[in-house]
Symmetry: C2
Subunit: 548 residues, 2 copies
């Protein structure tokens, strides 16, 4: 067979010729959205590459960052930078400024392409960015914010104007770096994940397979998941393979404009995290809109609450869970129930609530508390490890590009340790039950903190509950139940413990002995339970613990 | 990203676990077909690999041939042989015996796995096969035909019985040879095409993409296209990626059993060459059956006549053209009209009559008579050249595995010359107009022999017409029209020439000057016009040619 590399330039050329009439539609907040055909995107991508090379001196594996919303120019950057051989570095505009500075300096970005609307975020950072020589500004926004900056400032449209609209894309090695994205872990410095041309190409094929997102050129996908978040789940690449039209919300991510763009542009598919959809649902309740075009919604990032899934079903939008992480490109699983399961049945709903089924490109295994391999029986819970051509094998470690392969992230034989604990059914559906760092390791067995929390929160007098592992002389670790009672509640710990044991909700050996009442569960900046704080408070003797 | 190779063993493991309950259904001609789950196929594949390695001594890149119909055991051979690292060599049982002998000797096959029903074909060949040490027989058939053979004869079921049902598949290089298939060219010796693990893996992903065959685990595919014919168009591999059930007709390829298996097993998809469907249509007219399950039919090998396409539309079966060749794995194009084209419209039908649209993995270009690149304007006809990771870059040249790269098959920069002449539309749809060897090269321009023939055969008094290139002092080549008139016809050459020119059917400079009446057009063994004979007759002065 011909030794033809799997390159992003090939996806670009295919999409901008064979699917040249498909469109990237960017919401502008004005009467008409902006429409650009794939053919125009292709021509402008070539112009951008010429400008980056000839005017800005981008060479070899230089890092070119983007600080942008989802829009047509961001798609152009997605293609121009890797296709010419450089590395696209998408910056997460939600990160605290000091983390952004750290990341840009760590990646040694030479250029930042930024939306004008994000200059209030970027301008104060510039004095701290050591490697950045050029800022290219696109779209509306106050340019005077960059007055006095020591970098060279360029207007995107002026920069590319008049450049040739084709480019002789180089024949790269498919294993060469194409893009990078930093994970914002809760501990330690952010870690860079490098995507290769090969991994992005294969991932794009997977996204377009029938049992994945399953989109065609008859679809328009509303890409709410940010392009700075794991390549917008692969959609900007996948769409050029099959001609899927995309609707890009730019900075208009609030429920009202999202509802309006759905009504007016009639996308058939959308991709977003659950919180976005919760807001949209509330908006639609207050002000009904025609959202009938939107029949398929891919949800990832965290699990979709069953009630939300049902609410969307009633609107005719079918929610499909997907699971992944920055290290998995991100597509790891997608929850399309087996075809023989009856549509609308309880069995089908149960399949839809799982994280989903593994495709051939993602090989999973479950590792138990003692390092043993666990069976796929839908019951044995272990840490999920994965392997495959679009799964990270290391992290990016600085300008010398040293490879970081920490033990807690990679097994000895090179599999990615996901840090997620769950089960796999015999037919390959993943159900996550906990984070590995939150699971309670008791006497060689694992107890899911999430299961205990959900069971506790089902009690009518419990407002919130968090369960954390605490040291135990006999068992290694045991669960500590921290409970927030509703106002006027009278339940005592014995009652709650019996409630957990009743009807076999929780196995006897998993029931907590240690209990405490707290005023509220400490939360992280994104609203998740911050169990580190509880563990620290317990260790410092700050909690009033009752032992049953 | 992890450096995980794209291997057939990975497809096997995925399909036999995550899609373990999907089925290979083999028609037996008896009351009940034979059903085998993917999980069972997986276990038996491991057993077969153990038997081949331990009992038959298959090692490294040994060639193991199959002489089999489409059935579950052939699927097992498809996986066991490449997954263990050897090379699957599918033998075309329709070839003349002397060609089969030549091919087996050229490939130096050590083992042949054969269906019992094909022993009448195989037994007489054995004395001429130099490298074959073992024959493994599967399924019904008279074993006594092998009495006295000097090879070792094994029963498939006895050979695999009791072997371990798992196998530690080796970590191969993805570019290693996995399978081979010989093309039966009309001139010269057959040429071997080698498929790598990588090419088969990527091709399988493509087959499963939405805009390709687009099948899911809710489908059952009737695979009429033989497994000895370019890997049955990739279906046996693709199905293990997505859990598509397959219905295998074994030796029951006649219209009546095909109609019966469609009615009884209710496949949703089928893949076959047009002649098979023509027979099926006649059968259904004579004896109507419930074939309503079959909504999608992929047709390749040669173009589906429009009338046949319409006839199948009326039955509710939607025909979808695909184009490919042994050298293209075979998926080159597939004719799914763009989504914005109205279903049922003339425009849509025109799209469906093309050979189809190129996927991202197949890069096309058109080369004109002078070697120049032609535009994709739907009008400029040139020889189609293709490039991609599942396109052959050379042929297999014997035991030393020398690489053959003949000039007439590969361009200087390594593209495959398909030998097909056609046009490409701006949106990437291929329309083939002629074979390169039949096109008339006149004054630096090309004249399609097929266009002239079709135009001539539209005349009410013409029964058949073949047009061939003949040498011309001024123009290099000019067309010679050879015409078979209907009984009682009175049209003369001037009338026919005017008919061609009328209403702009044929451009003036393309009109033939040389005409002759013949009794019938010479045909090849498969019923195609044999233009070699006409050219030879002309050269020998055996035709009575009128010059207008």
């Amino acid at each position: 067979m011909q030794d033809v590399p799997l390159l992003i330039s090939r996806i670009l050329t295919h999409g901008s010729t064979i699917h040249g009439s498909s469109q990237v539609i960017t919401w502008t907040g004005e009467a008409e959205p902006h429409r650009r055909s794939f053919a125009e995107i292709g021509a402008r991508t070539a112009q951008l590459a010429h400008a980056l090379r000839d005017d800005l001196g981008v060479r070899d594996d230089d890092r070119v960052a983007t600080l942008m919303w989802n829009n047509a120019e961001h798609v152009e950057a997605y293609y121009a930078i890797p296709a010419m051989g450089a590395i696209l570095h998408t910056l997460n505009l939600r990160l605290p400024p000091e983390q952004l500075v750290w990341i840009v300096n760590h990646a040694a970005d030479r250029v930042i392409v930024a939306n004008g609307s994000l200059l209030p975020l970027l301008a104060p950072l510039l004095p701290h960015l050591k490697s950045v020589e050029h800022v290219v500004v696109s779209g509306p926004g106050d340019r005077s914010l960059l007055d006095g900056a020591t970098v060279q400032v360029h207007e995107y449209e002026e920069l590319i104007a008049g450049k040739p609209d084709s480019y002789d894309w180089p024949a790269l090695d498919e294993r060469q770096a194409a893009a990078m994205c930093y994970t914002s872990g809760t501990t330690g410095d952010p870690k860079g994940v490098i995507y290769s041309h090969r991994s992005i190409y294969l991932h794009s094929m997977q996204v377009n397979m029938t049992q994945s997102m399953g989109l065609t050129d008859g679809d328009t996908s509303l890409v709410v998941v940010p392009q700075f978040h794991v390549n917008a789940w692969g959609l900007p690449h996948a769409m050029f393979m099959t001609g899927v039209n995309v609707l890009m919300p730019d900075r208009f991510l609030q429920p009202a404009p999202l509802a309006e763009m759905i009504e007016r542009e009639r996308p058939t598919h959308a991709a977003a995290v659950p919180t976005i959809w919760q807001g949209l649902l509330a908006e639609l309740k207050g002000k009904p809109r025609d959202v009938s075009s939107l029949t398929q919604v891919t949800i990832g990032g965290s699990a979709c609450p069953p009630a939300l899934m049902t609410a969307f079903d009633e609107l005719g939008m079918r929610v499909c869970h997907a699971w992944g992480m920055t290290e998995t490109s991100p597509l790891g699983t997608i929850a399309r129930p087996p075809a023989q399961v009856e549509v609308g049945s309880d069995e089908e709903f149960a399949y839809r609530l799982t994280q989903g089924r593994f495709p051939a490109g993602v090989e999973p295994r479950l590792t138990g508390p003692g390092g043993e391999r666990l069976p796929w029986d839908g019951e044995s819970a272990g840490e999920l490890e994965v392997r495959g051509p679009w799964i990270a094998g290391a992290y990016y470690g600085g300008q010398g590009a040293e490879v970081l392969r920490p033990d807690d992230k990679f097994s000895e034989d090179g599999w990615l340790k996901t840090g997620d604990v769950g089960t796999i059914s015999p037919d390959g559906f993943l159900t996550l039950t906990d984070r590995a760092k939150d699971v309670i390791k008791s006497g060689g067995e694992w107890i899911s903190s999430v299961d205990l929390e959900n069971a506790l929160m089902a009690h009518p007098e419990v407002a919130e509950a968090a369960v954390v592992a605490v040291p135990d002389d006999k068992w290694g670790e045991r669960p500590l139940a921290t409970v927030v009672l509703k106002e006027g509640a009278s339940a005592d710990f014995d009652t709650l413990r019996s409630f957990l044991a009743d009807e076999g909700k929780i196995a006897k050996w998993q029931l907590p002995e240690r209990w405490t009442i707290i005023a509220s569960v400490p939360k992280t900046s994104v609203g998740k339970f911050d169990k580190k704080v509880l563990r620290r408070q317990y260790a410092a003797g700050e909690l009033d613990v009752t032992q049953l």
